[in-house]
């Protein structure tokens, strides 16, 4: 049984998640899991490793549909003593829920075990079926989700930022050029930034 939530806002969207988790192209995922006693010591080390070792970022960067993601260890609440720490995970991404979990499992196989291996009931990331069931059981639907640029995928944002940098160089390089040279430079520029358009 999944964590109790309010009544559904409707059937799952084409993205495979509740419509309350969706804003335009953007989708949010919110997951809490209960952490074993040794995770209280282990996870802070994993977090430090992930922050300080560039290859950890590089692997996540391969997941080109994630805008922002975070992991947080909730050890205490001001009003309640917790028997166990809890791992909070959130992601802001685009695409489909199933594809997201599939990609996480296949590309971040080792990283997933580092992050969730100390959580009760965590299966291995592969095969993905059991892992999807685990996430579904621990996921909580948002009551309100907001994206500042709901129509833009991560890839489009990254393309726009890359184009911005290259356009700045192009403007500087072509300032004062005669029209013929400018036209040649423009053609080369369009070829160069094709992937951003």
């Amino acid at each position: 049984m999944a964590i109790a939530e309010g009544p559904s806002a409707g059937p799952l969207t084409a993205t495979g998640t509740d419509p309350r988790n969706v804003d335009g192209q953007a989708i949010c995922i919110t997951v809490f899991s209960t952490v074993k006693w040794w995770g209280r010591l282990w996870l802070p080390l994993v977090f430090v490793y992930a922050r300080l070792v560039p290859s950890a970022h590089g692997t996540l960067a391969r997941l080109s549909f994630i805008h922002f993601a975070r992991w947080t260890l909730v050890r205490r609440l001001p009003e309640q003593r917790l028997r166990h720490p809890h791992l909070f995970f959130e992601s802001n991404f685009n695409g489909g829920w199933e594809e997201y979990i599939d990609a996480f499992s296949h590309i971040l196989t080792r990283g997933m075990t580092l992050f969730w291996g100390s959580s009760y009931g965590f299966p291995t990331p592969l095969p993905t079926g059991r892992f999807k069931d685990y996430i579904k059981r621990h996921e909580i639907v948002a009551s309100h989700f907001y994206s500042a640029y709901p129509d833009a995928t991560t890839t489009i944002v990254l393309s726009a930022l890359e184009l911005d940098a290259k356009l700045g160089e192009f403007r500087a390089r072509t300032r004062g050029m005669d029209p013929e040279a400018f036209a040649r430079a423009w053609r080369d520029f369009v070829t160069d930034v094709q992937g951003c358009l």
Binding site: F88, Y149, W186
Partner: protein, 180 residues
């Protein structure tokens, strides 16, 4: 080297967990779910990339092997935003003054009224420190992203329109439409 776990480049993560007052959960959920109809109030915070409110009825499913149930449901608020936390919380408490009584006003221990500096202190007291925060474009502010997206559309439109222009027309049109 990034030693601040709430930061990735200039982007920051905010995570706040506040206990919901008894019997307020349903009204709070209804209020939050209806917010979108009039446009998200988070749009009034121009430094916010993404934000969410989530009602956490419990941390663990009922059949978890080691259940650790919450005594009361909690309201989770998270944001991915630009720049410093202190000024962001000022903006949040100021810009969401109309909504805060219906949101954090339904949380136990919240100041009455839940606005301004007392609300800021309440949110800070309930902040959970991030362990690991990752951003795909950590140096880009919301303003930069919006401008870059608009510019990309302009360049695509210009590249289409520019086909067939002679060099002098092309250069003049570029300077006029895309900027020199």
């Amino acid at each position: 080297m990034n030693t601040d776990p709430d930061r990735s480049g200039q982007a920051r993560a905010l995570t706040v967990l506040t206990p919901i007052e008894p019997r307020a959960q349903d009204d709070l959920r209804r209020y939050l779910e209806e917010l979108k109809a009039a446009g998200s109030p988070l749009a009034r915070l121009p430094r916010t990339h993404f934000g969410r409110w989530v009602i956490v009825a419990d941390f663990t499913p009922d059949d978890e092997r080691k259940p650790d149930h919450l005594a009361v449901p909690y309201l989770l608020f998270t944001a991915c935003f630009d720049g410093a936390l202190d000024s962001y919380l000022d903006e949040l408490c100021d810009e969401l003054a109309a909504e805060a009584p219906a949101i954090w006003g339904r949380c136990a221990g919240a100041p009455k009224p839940p606005t301004g500096a007392p609300l800021k202190a309440y949110l800070r007291a309930h902040q959970a420190k991030t362990g690991f925060f990752v951003a795909a474009y950590p140096q880009a502010t919301v303003g930069h992203v919006h401008a870059a997206l608009k510019q990309r559309e302009d360049v695509i439109a210009f590249a289409r329109a520019a086909q067939g222009m002679d060099p002098a027309q092309l250069q003049a049109a570029f300077l006029e439409q895309v900027g020199g």
